[in-house]
Symmetry: C2
């Protein structure tokens, strides 16, 4: 194995597409294995439709990248059971949130990843239940009874995921989003909304990966705090970029309806700050993420660094 | 303390209302303490409205009764932290399922416990999010990081709750319910639907109570299996009685719209078997529940026995 780069000299040659491709093969296989089987036919179909064959899988990649960063080379020989389950669990939470968010009583979106949304394809009732069942399945995946994952890890993963998904996280952010339509938000309030709505689960993904590598707040406070900062910066950056793309990209590229935020009079970073300042914010958050990785002292956080670059520079 | 009755001679003098009253005071206080605080205002209000000031709290009582049964007198001196959290968690899952079930795309019910349903009061979007957040909160309650509950207990509780709530449990049963409207179900299929839709969470409540008392499938297979059988019988009995009450009770007594099942052409035990045979089924399941308690060998399962009697003989 070649010498690892130091945190202060990130390896610009890191091949993120190759790294991701290998890992996503495991994640896709695992999701296909775990989602929807044993469920009543209509429900299982809706759950699988919501989860499989689509999505960038950013959250699973953050779990796996954080896990590998804290484990160093040791994590690579075999595919860690806890990290794979955590990667799938965060994706299930993300997928359920999209199903519910697309429903007529929320964003009323008919297109997602270039396909009809779940309620369009399966009906609203089945979409509602599929989302509910996906959330439960996320916690079921984190708590296998085969002895492969220590109970302390299972409990910590459930704790992180529940907090990231609930009223102090994703659902809370969506609620702020809901009552903010047409409202004049301050930048602080907008940031709070974004931090909860999207940031909490992205940050949670990073921390769940760390936990799978047994880096916890007690044993490794420096690493854990740095990864938490990285996750917070990335979470906010992701939403800022999302707001930018909603303005500058077209529906075909996004795989969803572009320009929805403006049409719905939703406050966004772009509507509040203008495009230039929003882009500067995204760049600043990216730098914060890299600085946090440097602070972590982890010898090889290349995948996390590359994911941060990709998240901010993506075009869809 | 007076001599405990043997399982074969249940103590008919057991004061269930008094027993319940004392425990529910703790549960109500805990729910009020835990639900909706720290959430954005609208969401927190909807969550609290969905959970507080209403409901029979059958599931929390089953958790606490099972916990006390496996602990004997030892559980009574202090209020066990794990059991209280588990009791609240199962109620949150139940409450969220009602919020979503009442929505226009599901049962479209406007009355619940004599009050406007959550979506009538707060709007559909907020109701959807409140349900989602309540499910996450259930798992958050089970995984405190204060060291009060062993990690193995936390993991086992999350496992049981996730299975009871998901596509192999409550959500799965609701999906079968959904596709069964107007269909001619066999008794087996109806039983499967009921076992999942209502039975899984009631049985899960009993088993979570057992786990809180450290009676698990490995350490106490006899006790665990017997309580599992008790929970299964009670779960099914509860739904059979629900079907009966939908026919024989009026809306004012039920606190919800009576006669909905027949109006919606939903298959029920009564529509399938007729009232007399449905009542006989409920009685038979009650006897199965008592037989399971006798098999458990637990010296004092009076609360569980009394809850079984009450669940079958209730009028609302």
């Amino acid at each position: 194995m070649s010498a690892l780069p130091t945190p202060s000299s990130p390896d610009r040659s890191f091949d993120l597409p190759l790294w991701s491709h290998k890992r996503l093969a495991h994640v896709e296989q695992a999701l296909s294995h775990w989602v929807g089987h044993g469920a009543p036919a209509g429900l299982g179909d809706a759950m699988r439709y919501a989860v499989l064959d689509g999505g960038k899988r950013l959250r699973p990649l953050l779990v796996l990248a954080a896990h590998e960063a804290v484990c160093g080379g040791k994590a690579r020989a075999t595919f860690d059971a806890a990290a794979l389950r955590a990667a799938c669990a965060v994706e299930l939470i993300h997928a359920y949130s999209l199903v519910h968010d697309d429903m007529p009583c929320m964003d009323d979106d008919v297109l997602r990843r270039g396909k009809p949304t779940v309620h369009v394809r399966f009906g609203q009732a089945q979409a509602l239940l599929a989302g509910d069942a996906l959330q439960a399945l996320a916690f079921e995946l984190l708590t296998p009874d085969d002895g492969a994952i220590p109970a302390a890890t299972q409990a910590a993963l459930c704790r992180l995921l529940a907090r990231a998904a609930g009223s102090g996280g994703m659902a809370g952010g969506q609620a702020i989003d809901l009552i903010s339509v047409g409202a004049a938000l301050t930048e602080d309030r907008l940031r709070q909304m974004h931090r909860l709505k999207t940031g909490a689960l992205l940050q949670g993904s990073v921390l769940m990966g760390a936990i799978c590598g047994h880096a916890d707040p007690i044993a490794d406070p420096t690493v854990y705090a740095a990864l938490s900062d990285y996750g917070a910066a990335m979470g906010l950056a992701f939403q800022v970029v999302d707001d930018i793309l909603d303005v500058v990209a077209d529906s075909a590229t996004l795989g969803k309806t572009a320009g929805k935020d403006a049409a719905a009079a939703k406050p966004t970073y772009v509507s509040l700050l203008g495009l230039d300042r929003a882009q500067a914010q995204a760049q600043e958050l990216l730098e914060q993420a890299h600085a946090a990785l440097a602070r972590s002292g982890l010898p090889d956080a290349r995948a996390l660094a590359a994911l941060a670059d990709m998240l901010v520079r993506r075009s869809c």
